[in-house]
Amino acid sequence: MKSLIKHGSRLGWALHDLRDEFERVFRDLEGPFDPDGRTWSPPIDIVDKDDKLVLTAELPGLQKSDIRIDLQDNVLTIEGEKQYKSEENKSNYYHCERVYGKFSRSFTLPRKVDSAGIMAEFKDGVLTITMPKTEDAKPRQIEIK
């Protein structure tokens, strides 16, 4: 698209953002009718609790078997696919905001995580990965002699 507005101007950027937004909306509209090759990105939080790091990922509508967690060389990868049921595919969509498809997210774990003690749980569409800190990294109080 040839732009009439100079790049760098405020209005130029605003229109640029708006165009991206429109593209995103139209891409989303294709949603359930063309699931192949589409990707989405589940929202993820990482919280620092005194003795551990807790990662939570929102994966509504997935089953435990749809999710894969890999740990290789300190890189934690969460992958999966949200599928839609074929019986519903045949019906009429009135409103469609849900996004389906594959996702993959990777995080480099900090040195202070004890990778042998990592645990994962999946409940009500939320994946929780608990990563204990190594003994050295845990907060401790130092006594004054």
């Binding site: 405020r10 950027w13 605003a14 953002d17 708006l18 937004e21 359930p32 929202p43 993820i44 939080d45 990482i46 919280v47 620092d48 609790k49 790091l53 990662l55 939570t56 929102e58 994966l59 509504p60 509508g61 997935l62 089953q63 519903e88 019906s91 009429n92 969509y93 009135y94 409103h95 469609c96 905001e97 849900r98 996004v99 409940k123 009500d124 569409g125 939320v126």
Partner: protein, 114 residues
């Protein structure tokens, strides 16, 4: 630019919703992971259906923050062929699923040729 960027940061939680019509009725699905079933309220009045809930997330000490929590309310106007009294709902794997049956007389029928 400001208006659009601001929307990205001060995001309000709006659960992604789908409405599908089938032969027997309508199905509304809403993605709201991590809810307590007791915090979900669904009620219908005349031809309106309202869903409210609160998504609570732990925001203290976040190193990485993408999840959005908060209260939300969404309401739907039901078509005339619905039986609002027979609405059923369940919450499975972070998805609320509301099934609204069509009234008997409005259901699609197959007519046999005599």
């Amino acid at each position: 630019m400001n208006a659009i960027s601001a929307r990205k940061t001060d995001m309000i939680f709006i659960p992604p919703t789908e409405i599908i019509e089938s032969r027997d009725g309508y199905t509304i699905t809403m993605e709201i992971p991590g809810l307590d079933k007791a915090d979900i309220r669904i009620w219908s009045e005349n031809n309106k259906l309202m869903v409210t809930a609160e998504k609570k997330i732990d925001t203290e000490g976040r190193l990485y923050a993408e999840r959005i929590g908060g209260k939300f309310a969404r309401w739907f106007v039901l078509p005339e062929d619905c039986e609002a009294a027979k609405v059923e709902a369940e919450y499975v794997d972070g998805v609320i699923r509301i099934v609204i049956p069509k009234s008997e007389k409005s259901k699609a029928k197959t007519i046999t040729i005599k």
